[in-house]
Amino acid sequence: MSDEMTLYLQVWRQKDSKSKGGFQNYKVENVSGDMSFLEMLDMLNENLAREGKDPIQYDHDCREGICGACSCMINGEAHGPGKKTTTCEMHMRHFNDGDAIIIEPWRAKAFPVLKDLAVDRSAYDKIIMAGGFIEVKYGNAPEANSMMVGKEVADFAMDNAACIGCGACAAACPNASAMLFTAAKTTQLSLLPQGKVESKKRVQSMIKKMDELGFGNCTNERLCEAACPKGISIISIARMNREYMGTLLKSDY
């Protein structure tokens, strides 16, 4: 068996956010199983550039699974078939010689396509701007152990802080709902002493913004947690819902 593969790609090409897009077929040869998915696309783009054609636009930055830029749907799965992986972390050895691979951009009203596979994910930034931060002044770093945080609580906050805002949750959700993202971003703050003080105000304004931006309503389909490259669980959504329901009768003060 040779470790060089030939793949048949169908890639979504769209000139700009206003144009209508469509699929284009590409044949990519000499793909090694050790390449990442993005390196495979780079190779295709080099070929396209050499032929004088417009290369495929796709987002990427860190190429090590921490920036969340490399958004795309690969054969109907956000970031492809690997569990807890981003597109940049996925190796081509997940595919076989002769495979057909269909690559589409994230599709959601709140994530308009900019060009080809690149979408505008700034809706997530807007949710953060609505309250995903701490406003109270805490001064300098406190004396270690002067603020007690249980190990499990700290771990759970950290699990949620692992969110890279890649958009896979809303992209994979049948309702294009941003609940897992918003849940992770409220949870990481609400669980810790510094974030707790504004938790009610925060959850209200972030959910309000999420709804305004045109994301759908969560119906507990659980595709978000399956797609999340950081393995964030819908337990965080339940926690955020509890917090939000609490705002009906209580406020931060």
Binding site: F23, M73, N75, G76, E77, P81, I102, E104, R107, A108, K109, A110, A172, P174, N175, A176, S177, M179, I207, K208, M210, D211, G214, F215, G216, N217, C218, T219, N220, E221, R222, L223, C224, E225, A226, I234, I235, I237, A238, R239, M240, N241, R242, Y244, M245, T247, L248
Partner: protein
């Protein structure tokens, strides 16, 4: 917007109404199913049980609450389904079943819900507001037992009833668990238990109600 209206306009607010009304309906169905057992005891037991319920002072209030639960649940359910269809104007070309998340039940909630809604309207029309037989020698007691046996003597009625109960079972197999998740009850300690309970509940109501329809059919309208 006041804080109350902004709560109920929000996605989580709407979902919490669905979950609370859904769970109340889940509870109502258990009471209804248990009440049906009177049918097996005999015509007297069933007619008197029904008469007892209807002669209760506050029955109109309870009926109004029940109707409101159904209407709120269906209204928010269909509204959520509509809004969600707007949230992704261009659908994906490929949808793979990765086997992770989403189930047949979870992805068909608006459809099974609509079947239940149609069923409910017909159910009230055919039975509650259906033919009025009187129990001989008992002033004002309706012979609902006879009506059930006459109604279910038609195979078509039984078949439609069972289709609706299968839809109900599918709906609640996701809905029961989903309501807890929505209301914030989700923890590895009991999530597995809730999931299993959801399936068990669905089988109980689906098979339970269907059993009574089949049993009634086998009475051949009461004239054996």
């Amino acid at each position: 917007m006041s804080w109350v209206s902004s709560y109920f306009a929000s996605s989580v607010g709407k979902k919490s109404v669905m979950a609370l009304t859904g769970l109340s309906l889940v509870g109502f169905l258990v009471v209804h199913l248990v009440g049906n057992i009177n049918m097996l005891i005999g015509s007297d037991a069933f007619n008197h049980y029904s008469h007892f319920l209807l002669s209760f002072e506050g029955i109109y209030v309870l009926e109004a609450v029940l109707a409101a639960l159904f209407l709120l649940h269906a209204f928010f359910g269909l509204m959520i389904a509509f809004q969600n269809s707007q949230a992704r104007p261009d659908s994906y070309s490929v949808q793979t079943k990765s086997g992770r998340g989403t189930t047949f039940a979870s992805s068909t909630m608006p459809y099974t819900g609509t079947i239940i809604l149609i069923f409910l309207i017909l159910h009230l029309f055919d039975l509650k507001f259906g033919e009025h037989y009187s129990v001989p020698n008992e002033e004002g007691v309706r012979d609902i037992y006879k009506l059930v046996l006459v109604y279910f003597s038609k195979p078509l009625h039984v078949a439609w009833y069972i289709i609706a109960m299968i839809s109900l079972a599918i709906h609640t197999s996701h809905g029961f668990w989903s309501a807890f998740q929505t209301l914030g009850f989700s923890h590895p300690k009991y999530d597995g238990f809730l999931r299993k309970s959801s399936i068990a509940y669905a089988v109980l109501v689906g098979a339970g109600f269907s059993f009574f329809a089949i049993w009634a059919y086998l009475q051949h309208g009461g004239n054996v």
